[in-house]
């Protein structure tokens, strides 16, 4: 026998899925903007290990010469991204969902153990503290903090005079721009790992973000 266990509230599911196209549009339009001054690279001195981004990458996504278009999309859809994010955080606070997201003291150590377990380097996984395991808890909490970070660094870049306090606090205009960029790279990294883990976790888990419920096998009753 099995029973249905409520996992994700409706509001969380909607906001989760709505965030996907919104963030995609923000990253895409951000790329259109970034192209006109693609200053970042991994490397030191004259050695460049990786350039953000190779010309072929820009061309493959038809990014070049679309700065104005990118700015227009970015500065319109930022509102939707912000509203969705604020509603999400508000909801987690009001509903108590935050208890499953805010890391506890044990989360940091356990997250390492979970990761080792997932990489098949360790047999035992530490028990879940609530809905998520420690690694999920850290990752999902971090992604919310990153979202707030994107809004703040974005504000600092968008209005460096009117929000000059923020801009200065973040280390100045160019520093805020780098931070904004790094957060975006962080989203992409999160997305890759997130999708891989969701595939690994399987259909039942995925379905809980769609329906809200997870199917849990109940233990068969032992014959007397």
């Amino acid at each position: 026998m099995s029973r249905l266990v409520k996992k994700h509230p409706r509001a969380v599911r909607w906001m989760h899925w709505i965030n996907f196209p919104l963030l995609s549009i923000m990253i895409w339009s951000g790329l259109l903007i970034y192209w006109s001054y693609p200053a970042y690279r991994l490397g030191w001195g004259d050695t460049t290990v990786f350039k953000f981004f190779p010309t072929s990458f820009f061309q493959a996504l038809s990014v070049p010469h679309r700065l104005a278009e990118g700015m227009a999309w970015h500065f319109v859809f930022m509102w939707l991204f912000a509203i969705n994010g604020v509603l999400y955080v508000g909801y987690t606070i009001v509903s108590g969902e935050w208890r499953d997201l805010v890391p506890t003291r044990a989360s940091f150590k356990d997250a390492i153990l979970v990761t080792l377990h997932d990489l098949h380097l360790r047999k035992e996984a530490p028990p879940c503290e609530g809905k998520y395991n420690a690694a999920q808890r850290l990752a999902y909490f971090a992604i919310i903090v990153m979202g707030a970070g994107s809004l703040l660094t974005g504000l600092a870049i968008w209005r460096p005079t009117q929000a000059s306090t923020f801009t200065t606090l973040l280390g100045g205009y160019q520093a805020a721009r780098i931070e904004h960029f790094l957060l975006t790279i962080g989203y992409v990294a999160f997305f890759v790992v997130h999708v891989a883990q969701v595939i690994r976790a399987g259909w039942n888990n995925f379905r809980s973000m769609v329906t809200g419920y997870e199917l849990v096998r109940t233990r068969e009753e032992k014959p007397r």
Partner: protein
């Protein structure tokens, strides 16, 4: 002794929970699919709208919304941050529209249209501008492309110019054009009268060079570099929103920060 109860035969009755979840999944995918279609429709709708000044009109409306919000917040006349002079770096030349041919600073004149109390356009020489209080400031010039550089500018405040030559002038906008009218920008009143908006004749301690807009250019650090018109030819005080070179090419008219 016999077994107390015989094991019940395995029922192959469908698992109720499983079935309910299947139904919920189907329903959720239908709803989600509908929502996704709606979202995609909205995206396609925006993408296929006619352009207004180089950008899809719904996005242009969005930019205007941003502008209104910024202008409401701008009322306090907040100053752009200033920097120590050792942060100054060379400024590259990034635009030459409207700078064809050459201009002799000794014969150059700026035409000013719409000054209160003047029925005809008036002209001003560089000496007239230099007679106004000289203001020096070290601010960060931010190009709309994303790079920025700290520059020391010197010149006269546009607000001082107005106070001296047309104190009743209070139009909603100020427009500027190069002498050949090929490059042009518009400023809202508050930005134009901002204490850091300069009619600038010196850059990094030396008179402006030709490529940087000699003899007189606009410097307005609450805006992107695109508003810093080089080689001013005409200055117009008007209540009609002035045309703006880059705003006609899809950029935000306000271009302020």
């Amino acid at each position: 002794m016999s077994d107390p109860t015989p094991p019940r035969p395995e029922t192959d009755a469908p698992d109720d929970a499983e079935q309910r979840l299947s139904r919920m999944t189907r329903r959720a995918f239908l709803t989600g699919g509908g929502a996704a279609l709606l979202g995609f429709g909205a995206w396609e709708w925006i993408r296929t709208r006619p352009n207004e000044a180089g950008v899809r009109w719904p996005l242009r409306n969005g930019l205007r919304f941003d502008e209104n919000l910024s202008r409401a917040a701008f009322r306090d006349g907040k100053l752009a941050p200033t920097f120590a002079k050792d942060r100054v770096r060379p400024l590259k030349v990034n635009g030459n529209v409207g700078l064809g041919g050459s201009v002799d600073p000794s014969t150059w004149m700026m035409t000013v249209v719409g000054l209160a109390g003047a029925s005809a356009p008036r002209t001003f020489s560089l000496a007239d501008i230099q007679a106004l209080p000289r203001v020096e400031m070290t601010t960060e010039l931010k190009c709309i492309e994303g790079w920025s550089v700290v520059v020391t500018w010197a010149g006269a405040r546009l607000s001082d110019f107005v106070a001296r030559y047309g104190p009743q002038t209070d139009t909603a906008y100020v427009g500027l054009k190069t002498p050949d009218a090929r490059y042009y920008v518009g400023l809202d009143h508050d930005s134009a009268m901002h204490p850091q908006t300069l009619l600038c004749y010196e850059m990094n301690g030396a008179p402006l060079t030709g490529p940087h807009g000699a003899p007189l250019r606009l410097v307005t650090p609450t805006k992107y570099g695109i508003k810093h018109l080089k080689r001013i030819g005409t200055l117009t005080f008007t209540n009609d929103r002035p045309a703006d070179y880059w705003a006609e090419r899809g950029y935000d008219w306000y271009a302020g920060h």
